[in-house]
């Protein structure tokens, strides 16, 4: 029994690993073709991602919003709703957190808490909107959420440029909100490194979501709904309640992720900050890679984040363009969308069962 658990944990870890490895191999070919030393290039990348405290800490803090975006996808997709609205929800979460922490005149600690709650609420409301569009008008999630993402980004741009621009920098041509006071920020874990408590909070969220999805009645119901929504109806599960609960939870995760990024890293909302970094999309890739397992999503998020920070290092110290790294991430995305990994995991599961069976 113990062995089985360990193995299933390894499969979770194994899935993102395999796909990243394949992508890195393809990346090696590309790097090789462009005439660089592959080992040296990857050495630089590895060091630039996980090499020392400084790099590791920036990888982990970059991973924070990705993890939360990934959790949002895990919750929705495992329940059978192919929602992709994490980006919009994260944008409104980040913006709400930045506004609340900057403007609300209460004690700093309360500002932090209110900013987080506000971000959760913003994410949830925006997510529920797409749920409502689906329930009322049968607008497919893929369409509604993608549209809502654009709307969120432009609304946030408008607000940061025209309405909520940093009052201390009105003359500077920067579209961003005011900087949050130091006492209201999420503190760093180590003084010298950028890693902040938000990362640990995100890890805690991973554990909570894991428990929610695997150990609770809600998790069971949502999983059955994802497997076969007719079966869920037939068994007496309230489809409407399920839809909104899932949308709320998923939106809370994404919105909260936005607040962690603002409170822990940027200390303000900067126009396009979520849109340009593609955090929500990396989160989605991470969740797909991990087959919507929260713990796998955590691992995959860190890997994807490492790919980005390592890629930046690669560009700094070699002539390899950052696009190569983008290509690697692109390959990963393609790999998971063709469900190659799913196939591998099914095969693996069968061999695993065989081993487990012999012991009984």
């Amino acid at each position: 029994m113990r062995k089985k658990k360990l193995q299933s944990f390894l499969t979770t870890l194994g899935q993102p690993m395999v796909s990243v490895t394949i992508a890195l191999l393809l990346g090696a070919v590309i790097i090789g073709l462009s005439g660089e030393n592959v080992f040296k290039a990857y050495g630089v990348m590895l060091k630039g991602a996980f090499g020392d405290g400084y790099y590791l800490s920036s990888t982990l803090s970059r991973a924070t919003p990705i993890i939360m975006g990934g959790l949002a996808v895990c919750i929705a997709w495992r329940s059978g709703y192919e929602a992709m609205g994490g980006e919009g929800q994260m944008i409104f979460g980040a913006l709400s957190a930045a506004i609340i922490a900057y403007y609300v005149p209460v004690a700093p600690f309360l500002r932090t808490v209110l900013a987080m709650l506000g971000a959760c609420l913003a994410g949830a409301v925006y997510s529920v909107l797409s749920g409502w569009l689906y329930e009322k008008w049968r607008v497919t999630f893929i369409i509604s959420t993608l549209m809502l993402n654009y709307i969120a980004n432009y609304v946030a741009s408008y607000l940061t440029i025209y309405k909520l621009k940093d009052p201390e920098a009105l003359d500077i041509n920067a579209s961003q909100t005011g900087k949050i006071m130091e006492a209201a920020r999420l503190p760093r874990i180590f003084k010298a490194y950028s890693l902040h408590w938000g990362f640990l909070i995100a890890v805690l969220c991973v554990v909570l979501v894991y428990i929610l999805m695997n150990k609770t009645e809600f998790g069971y119901k949502s999983r059955m709904n994802g497997f076969n929504s007719r079966f869920a109806l037939y068994g007496g599960i309230n489809a409407r309640k399920m839809l909104y609960m899932v949308m709320i939870l998923s939106g809370v995760c994404a919105g909260f992720g936005g607040s962690l990024e603002v409170l822990g890293s940027k200390y303000r909302y900067i126009d396009q900050m979520i849109f340009n970094t593609g955090y929500a999309w990396s989160g989605m890739v991470a969740a797909l890679l991990a087959n919507f397992n929260p713990i796998g999503t955590l691992v995959a998020s860190i890997l994807l984040s490492g790919l980005a920070t390592g890629g930046a290092a690669l560009q700094r110290s070699t002539s390899i363009p950052v696009e190569t790294v983008n290509m690697i991430e692109g390959v990963i995305t393609i790999l998971m969308s063709v469900k190659l990994l799913n196939l591998i995991s099914v095969r693996y599961r069968h061999t695993r069962k065989k081993e487990g069976g012999e012991k009984q």
Binding site: T216, E217, M224, G236
Partner: protein
């Protein structure tokens, strides 16, 4: 010899589904494969059809060794299969499904006229009535079956494998189908038929293979055997005959009052009033597609009627949710185990606990207790002899009949005052059907009410204390046990009249 399978062995993980099986088929022959649930019948045919790869062994078609990587390979060698679980596109029409991949075209476009003509011609030639422009998603299982059969016939296969094709057809339709098979065989096509119904075997087979636990245990010529012997070979003992003692009926536990349902411009149900009392098994006989599925889903709360009432244990539940009805005391074996009755990607535990997930001891303050649930699933598996490696295996890994057993077990063990059974023994072998019938009768003896909707007439006539006959959404007859024979019922089901 048109095809031959030599020493086929197939493992699924550590389950041995086929153990060194060698079988062959002669040209123009009708071959039957019989055996218990999980014996490996579907597996061996899936291997022949390219849906599964054998672990070892070889396939020869017309003496030539071949390898089928997928069903298209098999089709290219003239092998077609009517699956046990339908593989149709829900959102396409009947005709589109039938011609799929071989559409008649005019230029690059689908030639609708030619398609409809071809499909109608086919449906008339084989006496399989369908509406070519109906959408599959609106078709009940009985019709879907017909579409599957027509699809294979349309592809002009030389070898046609039928995996339990008659499970949802009425006796008259089955007779027509068997006749079709004979005609096809006479025309030189070769046919393999997997079935649990031994009378069908005796009606059409030239030769019979009996399988048990993955092995081939016997081969018989039709003339050399009997249903008794086959049954014995399959299960290893002779089936017991059963006495059904009369039970005193109690108050009405389930009733409908003038239930109507208007859908897609027609009355699928019109003024259906039925009642089922405690201690009573009430059967609904009818050709599938005459409103039984709709009656089922209106009674269990999946569909709202346009008029009339549903009464459960004396309460008007017409506007109550499925959840409330289940809490009040209704359980329901769905007509389709994979469409409604279960989740193939879920484990047996997850499938077993549905509708009990909110109850102690399985749920404690919102947290599920895995141990209790596994124990419960284990008890269902054991009691109903579901052949599976354990509560953690997936429902989709079970053989058709075993999946059905699990669904039936779950609903029977809800121990509710009202049980709705739709095709409860669909695809289940003789031994296990007897077991499930006994469980249904036990419920009746306990004073519970059972509504039995089945396209298998013998099931209805042996179990029911009272029978309603449905035709085109109406109740056209009501009989007490023994007051009517299968022939007369069959006639009524087709809209005929019986002389009083």
């Amino acid at each position: 010899m048109i095809f031959e399978l030599r020493n086929i062995t197939k493992y699924y993980g550590d389950t041995l589904a086929n153990d060194d099986i060698s079988i062959h088929l002669n040209e123009g022959e009708i071959l039957c494969v019989v055996g218990e649930n999980g014996a490996g019948k579907s597996t061996i045919m899936k291997i022949l059809y390219g849906l599964e790869q054998p672990t070892s062994g070889e396939i020869l078609v017309k003496g030539q060794p071949v390898r089928f990587r997928n069903p298209s390979d098999a089709m290219a060698h003239g092998i077609g299969m009517v699956q046990q679980h339908f593989m149709l596109f829900e959102s396409l029409t009947v005709a589109e499904n039938i011609v799929f991949k071989r559409e008649p075209r005019r230029g690059p476009l689908l030639d609708k006229k030619a398609m409809l003509a071809a499909v109608s011609e086919l449906s008339e030639r084989y006496k399989l009535k369908i509406d070519p422009s109906a959408r599959i998603e609106n078709c009940p299982v009985g019709l879907r079956q017909r579409v599957e059969i027509l699809k294979i016939l349309y592809q002009n296969a030389e070898i046609i494998v039928f995996d339990e094709p008659s499970a949802v057809l009425t006796p008259i339709e089955v007779e027509a189908l068997l006749q079709t098979m004979k005609e096809l065989a006479a025309a030189g096509k070769s046919i393999v038929l997997i079935t649990h119904k031994l009378n069908e075997v005796m009606a059409v087979a030239d030769r019979i293979y009996v399988m048990r636990s993955g092995k081939l245990v016997a081969e018989r010529k039709k003339e050399e055997t009997s249903t008794d012997e086959l049954a014995y070979l399959m299960v290893g003992h002779h089936p017991a005959t059963r006495e059904i003692p009369p039970v005193k009926t109690g108050e009405t536990l389930l009733a409908t009052e003038e239930l109507s349902l208007h859908k897609d411009g027609r009355d699928v149900l019109s003024k259906v009033s039925i009642h089922v009392d405690g201690g009573e098994v009430v059967g609904i006989a009818g050709v599938s597609g005459n409103g039984q599925s709709e009656l089922e889903s209106v009674i269990n709360g999946l569909e709202a009627p346009t008029g009339g009432k549903v009464l459960l244990c004396g309460r008007d539940v017409t506007h109550e949710s499925v959840h409330t009805r289940r809490e009040l005391g209704m359980a329901h074996i769905s007509e389709d185990r994979f469409l409604w009755g279960g989740a193939v990607s879920g484990t047996l535990s997850e499938n077993a606990i549905m509708a009990k997930e909110e109850r102690e001891p399985y749920n404690h303050k919102g947290f599920l207790r895995k141990k209790k649930i596994t124990e419960y699933a284990g008890s269902l598996i054991e009691r109903f002899s579901v052949k599976a490696s354990g509560p953690d295996s997936l429902l989709g890994e079970l053989s058709g009949g075993n999946a059905q057993k699990l669904v039936a077990a779950r609903e029977i063990m809800m121990e509710t005052p009202v049980l709705i059974c739709c095709e409860p023994t669909r695809g289940i072998d003789i031994g296990a059907s007897d077991f499930i019938h006994n469980e249904i009768l036990n419920k009746r003896e306990k004073g519970d009410a059972v509504l039995l909707i089945s396209s298998e007439l013998s099931e209805i006539t042996t179990l029911s204390d009272r029978i309603y006959v449905m035709f085109e959404g109406k109740i056209v007859g009501e009989f007490n046990r023994g007051a009517v024979d299968e022939k007369a019922l069959g006639l009524l089901m087709l809209g005929g009249k019986i002389d009083a």
